[in-house]
């Protein structure tokens, strides 16, 4: 019939798009011909924490096509623009394909045996001379669950140190601490269905249109279908999200801490709270205050049970009295009348209100407190654990939840909400791992910022970095790069491309990525998603699990990993799953995940998922008649914390008069090792730019595309000015991205962190701006 293969493929493309758009257009039979010889497999997307499902088409050992997975409940057949780069991210020219060992200033090709023997020798030497706390492993929210699990078992149950951290410390740690100290269990009660079912969405410093585009599309679909749906964008910068919002409310950096307290003040003053809900479910607490900012090495700050004071509701109300809207107007820049209005939005019984936030709240020197205050709004008004009505903490990496948080690859955590400080938890972990309980140290390991400072201090002798790029992504970057350059520690980096971290390594190991291996990721809404290996990794590349187990064997811990070569990923997962059963974080058998497009835990006895936690309507751990039960919290009561206003670590002054904020754009992802690699992506926004408010630019004589020097107390860089582009910061603030490996933006950033979560504040420091 004269149709070419191109026509077939185009028909396939159109049919897939029609189906994803919800139109019932029959796929022409002859379109099948276009897909002849392509084998399709399912996988969660490699990029962000949304966890979209992708169908990956393989032909002749190569990925030749990708589709949004029509059976994927998260994205229903559609991917964001990053979908264009998914498979090509594996096929860049400079892919690492062989182990490399440093000889002076040169990196020399080596065999796996040479590389692994060298690593083991260095680790053994450090442990013999300085003890197990002189070595570390630094992983990633991009690790699969299996990779994180093996890493945790090796470090905590084998080597005997808690010096294990994920890069998720830099993005999600504040969310984790607040989930734990409010609900007694990590991760949300709600899920993405709330984006379809609610009618009011308050965004706290989140540019969802760019950072979580597929979720934002779901929200906008809801809005276009239902005129009542209202979207309120509270932010320090106008973005693509702002364009779709009903209202933009400008807020000063760090102003959230004041505004949230004032909204709560109004809710209490005007009795907009749900008295019955509060009486049944809430206990009021006051924690440790006058907290430091972590700027000094080894600055210790913890909130122990002895530091926590229980409050009556009346005492709590009295403490909240000074936080008036008039006071908050001065601190946050939000007019007092607008704060009153926001309180009435949260308190409106006819509205289903959702709060959404991500790095703006988490990367904050009082990030845990801001998370706590958002939960307070929902707990006081009872707008929680109901379909379409929940707070939702959004994540950035594909398995920040599944691996870093659920497996617990932090310096203080063990799987399934357990912690190393708790003896019963150590015993449970040791029992499953088959090691003596005393093997797992009770002492919390080094958190990320301290881990890299310890290299500079000469205390940490060996560090192995997998699947992440800390020598670009850490704050106060000059200090840690200089420490690495002066070879103060033995550094191993496993990755798929050369990065600003591999250039500082003593050993570079080539990894397999995404569908070059089998794995499981866990996304923002508690959805656990599995995939199988579909193509071979290039050259001598090996997956991180293999690398860790081969290292373990050389360290004398091989017996901890008795998994068969065939079925290894299943065996690791089944062992990990034992930690979750009966805890309210229950996972399904591995075979189930091979069949479905993910399941949201806790998975019920009958194998179905849980959309809303803590409610009898959906959560099997709550008995009929109990309504809502926060069964992971002490005495089943969640905590409403009094969290006062405390200032940021550094504020603009005469010498450094501007706020400096970093973030992400749609086409770029993290430090750009996978997106920056793809030539198309790099072209889209070819280098980091600095966004200025037009009036600030005019005053400084800076025009669009001029070169601008940005200087903080820690470093100085030159970037191209962008004025009137995709985003516009408020007056007195500038914004840039951190993906560009040629511009180490984080040399500017302060290494202040939240004292409870130890998560750095990448969103606020003081800089001066000059035309270069």
């Amino acid at each position: 019939m004269g149709l070419s293969r191109r026509d077939f493929i185009k028909a396939c493309a159109a049919a897939a798009a029609f189906a994803a758009a919800g139109a019932s257009v029959a796929r022409p039979e002859w379109a099948e011909a276009a897909e002849d010889g392509i084998t399709w497999g399912k996988a969660p997307c490699r990029y962000c924490g949304v966890g979209c499902s992708v169908l990956v088409g393989v032909k002749g050992g190569r990925i030749v096509s990708t589709k949004g997975d029509p059976a994927g409940p998260v994205n229903k057949g559609l991917n964001c623009i990053k979908g264009y780069f998914l498979s090509k991210a594996l096929y860049g020219k400079d892919r690492l394909t062989t182990p490399l060992i440093r000889k002076g200033n040169r990196m020399v090709e080596a065999s796996w045996d040479e590389a692994l023997d060298l690593i083991a020798a260095q680790y053994k030497k450090a442990i013999a001379e300085h003890g197990p706390d002189s070595v570390a492993l630094y992983g990633s929210g991009q690790w699969t669950i299996q990779e994180g699990y093996v890493a945790s078992k090796l470090m905590k149950g084998g080597i005997g140190t808690n010096n294990l951290e994920p890069n998720a410390r830099l993005c999600m740690a504040s969310a984790v601490v607040a989930f734990m100290n409010t609900f007694g269990s990590d991760e949300p009660m709600g899920c993405y269905d709330d984006l379809d079912l609610g009618d009011t969405y308050v965004l706290w410093g989140a540019n969802m249109a760019e950072a979580h585009p597929v979720l934002f599309s779901r929200l906008i679909d809801n809005k276009l279908k239902h005129p009542k749906v209202k979207l309120i964008d509270i932010a320090t910068r106008r973005t693509r999200t702002t364009k779709m919002a009903d209202e933009f409310i400008a807020i000063k950096p760090h102003g959230d801490l004041a505004a949230l307290n004032a909204i709560i003040h109004v809710i209490l003053r005007d009795k907009l709270y749900d008295e019955a809900f509060v009486a049944k479910h809430v206990s009021f607490k006051r924690g440790k205050e006058n907290a430091p900012y972590g700027l000094k090495d080894k600055e210790a700050f913890n909130e122990t049970p002895a530091d926590v004071k229980n409050l009556s509701f009346e005492e709590y109300k009295a403490l909240m009295k000074p936080y008036t809207p008039q006071w908050a107007q001065k601190v946050s820049g939000i007019p007092a009348a607008k704060i009153e209005e926001l309180a009435r939005v949260y308190g409106d019984k006819s509205r289903k209100v959702n709060s959404l936030w991500t790095m703006g709240v988490n990367q904050h020197s009082r990030g845990v407190w801001v998370n706590n205050l958002i939960y307070n709004l929902h707990l006081l008004t009872g707008k929680i654990c109901k379909p379409g009505e929940n707070p939702l903490s959004l994540t950035g990496q594909p398995s920040a939840c599944g691996t870093a948080r659920e497996v617990g690859t932090f310096a203080h955590r063990l799987p399934a909400d357990m912690v190393v400080m708790n003896e019963a938890h150590r015993k449970k972990a040791a029992g499953i791992w088959g090691v003596p309980a005393e093997k797992i140290p009770a002492k919390v390991g080094l958190h990320t910022v301290e881990m890299f400072r310890a290299i500079d201090r000469g205390e940490l002798k060996c560090i192995w970095i997998q699947c992440t790029n800390p020598f670009q992504s850490l704050p106060n970057l000059n200090r840690v790069r200089k420490a690495a350059q002066s070879r103060k520690a033995f550094i191993v980096v496993s990755d798929i491309y050369p990065t600003r971290s591999t250039e500082l390594a003593d050993v570079v190991l080539p990894s397999a990525s995404w569908v070059e291996k089998e794995g499981v990721f866990g996304n923002t809404e508690r959805r656990t998603q599995q995939w199988f290996k579909m193509v071979n990794a290039p050259g001598k590349s090996k997956e991180d699990v293999w690398q860790l187990i081969e290292f373990a064997k050389r360290m004398g811990h091989g017996a901890l990993f008795p998994y068969p070569e065939k079925g290894m990923h299943r065996a690791i997962f089944e062992e990990y799953r034992k930690f979750t059963l009966g805890t309210g974080k229950d996972l399904a058998p591995y075979g189930t995940y091979a069949k479905v497009r993910g399941l949201r835990w806790p998975v019920k006895a009958n194998g179905t998922e849980t959309r809303w936690r803590y409610t009898e309507a959906d959560d099997e751990h709550v008995a009929k008649g109990e309504g809502i039960k926060f069964y992971k919290a002490p005495n089943n009561k969640v905590s409403v914390w009094f969290r006062p206003y405390e200032p940021p670590a550094e504020v603009p002054d005469r010498n450094y008069p501007f706020w400096f904020c970093t973030g992400r754009l749609l086409e770029h992802w993290h430090t750009g090792t996978m997106t920056g690699r793809v030539p198309e992506l790099r072209r889209a926004v070819s280098q980091a730019t600095v966004e200025l408010h037009p009036e600030d630019a005019k005053r400084l004589g800076i025009r669009n595309r001029d070169q601008v020097r940005i200087t903080s107390r820690r470093g100085s860089i030159v970037l191209t000015a962008e004025i009137g582009g995709r985003g516009t910061p408020e007056r007195g603030s500038v914004f840039t991205t951190f993906f560009d490996e040629k511009k180490l933006v984080n040399e500017i950033c302060i290494d202040a962190f939240d004292p409870l979560s130890k998560e750095p504040d990448f969103k606020k420091c003081a800089v001066k701006i000059q035309k270069a």
Binding site: N79, I81, K88, V535, P538
Partner: protein, 87 residues
């Protein structure tokens, strides 16, 4: 040449106007406009680079809320520095 199937979301009242403008671009075929403001289109270009440029252009267009990707075939795209298949 890579080919992709995309869904362009618009405000319903602006969809037909946007669709007309889309159809005027070389490399973009509009296949349908749905009642809820979604436009189904096929993108065809010499390189993925050019494909993405087209999509980026769409995203900047007045009336366009978002552009999403349903299907991408790049089987005959020049493998950029790719390693041999099955290696």
């Amino acid at each position: 040449m890579p080919i992709s199937g995309i869904v362009v979301s618009c405000r319903p009242e602006e969809a037909s106007g946007v669709a007309e403008k889309l159809a005027g671009n070389q490399g973009i075929e509009v296949h349908g406009v749905l009642a809820d403001g979604k436009i189904v289109a096929v993108i065809e270009a010499d390189t993925i680079d050019a494909e993405v440029d087209l999509v980026k252009g769409l995203q900047q267009m007045e009336g366009v809320i978002s552009v999403q990707l349903a299907y991408h075939n790049f089987e005959d795209a020049a493998p950029e520095g790719a390693h041999p298949a099955g290696f």
